[in-house]
Amino acid sequence: MRLGDTVVFTWRALSRHGLRTALSLVGVAIGVSAVILLTALGEGARRFVIDEFASIGSDLLIVVPGKVETTGGMPGVGGTPNDLTLADAEALERRIGSVRRVAPVAVGTETVSHGARSRDVALVGSTATFAEVRRLTVGDGRFLPPGEARRGGAVAVLGRQVADELFPGESPLGEVVRIGAWRFRVIGVLEPTGTQIGVDFDEVVVVPVATAMRMLNRTSLFRILVAVTPGADLERVKERVVEVITTRHDEEDITVLTQDSVVGALTGILAALNLAVAAIAGISLGVAGLGILNVMLVSVAERTGEIGLLKALGAGRRQILAVFLVEATVLSAAGGLVGLAIGYGLAFVVARLVPALPTAPPLWAVTAALSLAISVGALFGLLPARRAARMEPVDALRKGS
């Protein structure tokens, strides 16, 4: 019996029981579409993160208080690192040749209000260099005034959305806003920039770093951003940064992140997560295989007479085996294709709804899901097919008549 004939024969058998066939397809379809959708989301998340951190810029070092030990642990957790201070930031700028700009950063959450309107914002304390290092542009007015970081003036730069919400239809420049218990004069509004590294710069208020640390009652900076002279050796500068701070703190209690190290670590984690999600979705394919097993057992039992007849007409065991094996495989492959369509459809919808998330099912997941679906069909089809092939023709004819 040729494969083409077997497939046609199978197709006639399956299409006769449309509903039953469709139902047994559903399991496989769900499994495959789950793999595709979930890995598409995972891949989207991975690309999103890469894109986000790519916006850091390849010339930027981020100094974080706390040492990431080789034994694990998070920066700032475990041990009591020395404060990362404004003096440290100044030292980095003074003592390292290939440092172009240094921006100390303090971060907290505060309520900002103007008249009756108020909202919670991310309060960012920094210096005039912050705009340059973070590549922010000021739409109206100006950014924080350049000058000594320690002199904390009561001036604020608003994110675009904050400005729009507190001052609908009017210019906030020169107006006074209240942040927590403090009063600030608005000197500028940022251009809309959207989200960078998980911070929506349209929803922040930037104030001088010394002021922010007093308001937030902090002694340590959150970060020091170090912009390196273009063309400088990033690793070399990184070592110098560690040296300078270690000398000042008498111990190595900081972590220096680069775009590459952050992106590398995160993509590693996300890739592992994605694989895990795909594996879990893959398990559902195994369950779907049980559905196929069930349907095929019913089909074999139902077609006992037919099997006897086929044997009488000269079909060998192998041919009977092939008929039912192909039937199970066609079932699961069809389910796989339906799942493929559904998975891609859902991924497309998600991509439309959340444009920021570049969802795209990775090729490896699609290939793996489809081939797993087909092998599941063949595997679970084996038992019923063998049962059919081993039937004695006489018994089969008698029972089936």
Binding site: M1, D5, L313, G314, G316, R317
Partner: protein
């Protein structure tokens, strides 16, 4: 053509052996038309299944066209069934989801006959049973007689040496039964060896000779023309089992 010696077929029925065939000796020549009769459970169908290589005897030897079936592998038996033997069943055994012509094509599918040749031969076979117009109908769109004629086309499309028919008219009305029997007769006239299991004396009378099976043994051999009534046949069954002179009678006709 067919040579049976000491054929036994024993089934195990809940631990108790049942002798469906017990020590059957018989020779059937090429081109013969033999009817097999006997009460229910006498082993008629078992004999037909053994002859059709669907069932293997538990003891004895079966030579088909000078080859001992016991020596053949399962694969070789498949080939024998495919090319040398045609089956016609009481309940037709057509595949319901396939059209008439596709049913007729089935044996050729297993024999891997090319698609185009398959269709031509199937249509020719349907033509021979007078169903050339009905090829694309499914079995449930055909009458009983038409269905059996499709089955007949299927049984003969591979040009077998032997046709085994198990109650071929059992599910048919008289008119369509007669039509099918006429076709069987014509095939036999063309040289096909024909074995028909039946309950119906009118069917059996068309044969050259008759074998009467009782309790798995050939109880009687007689020329088919001498059949009168069922009662008479089976009543003398036991008495006839002792006389073993039927072989010469049968082969001569």
């Amino acid at each position: 053509m067919i040579r049976l010696r000491g054929i036994c077929r024993t089934y195990d029925l809940g631990g108790r052996p049942v002798h469906a065939l017990a020590d059957v000796d018989e020779d059937i020549a090429a081109g013969e038309h033999v009817a097999i009769m006997g009460p229910s459970g006498s082993g008629k169908s078992t004999l037909l299944n053994v002859l059709g290589c669907l069932d293997r005897p538990t003891a004895g030897s079966y030579q088909l066209e000078d080859r001992d079936v016991a020596d053949l592998s399962e694969k070789a038996l498949d080939t024998v069934r495919r090319h040398r033997i045609g089956f016609v069943f009481q309940s037709f055994h057509l595949v319901g989801r396939l059209s008439a012509v596709e049913n007729v094509e089935l044996p050729m599918v297993f024999a891997e006959v090319p698609r185009r040749e398959r269709r031509e031969r199937a249509l020719a076979a349907l033509d021979a049973v007078g169903l050339n117009e009905r090829g694309d109908h499914r079995p449930d769109q055909l009458s009983g007689g038409e269905r059996q004629r499709v089955a007949l086309a299927r049984a003969t499309v591979m040009d077998p040496a032997i046709l085994l028919a198990d109650e071929p008219t059992g599910n048919l009305d008289t008119a369509s039964g007669r039509q099918v029997l006429d076709m069987l007769d014509r095939l036999n006239d063309d040289g096909l060896t024909l074995l028909v299991v039946t309950h119906d004396p009118n069917v059996a009378r068309r044969a050259d000779r008759l074998l009467v099976l009782v309790d798995g043994r050939i109880a009687r051999r007689m020329p088919a023309a001498e059949i009168h009534s069922l009662d008479e046949l089976f009543a003398v069954g036991d008495a006839g089992s002792s006389t073993d002179n039927g072989d010469e009678d049968g082969e001569g006709s």
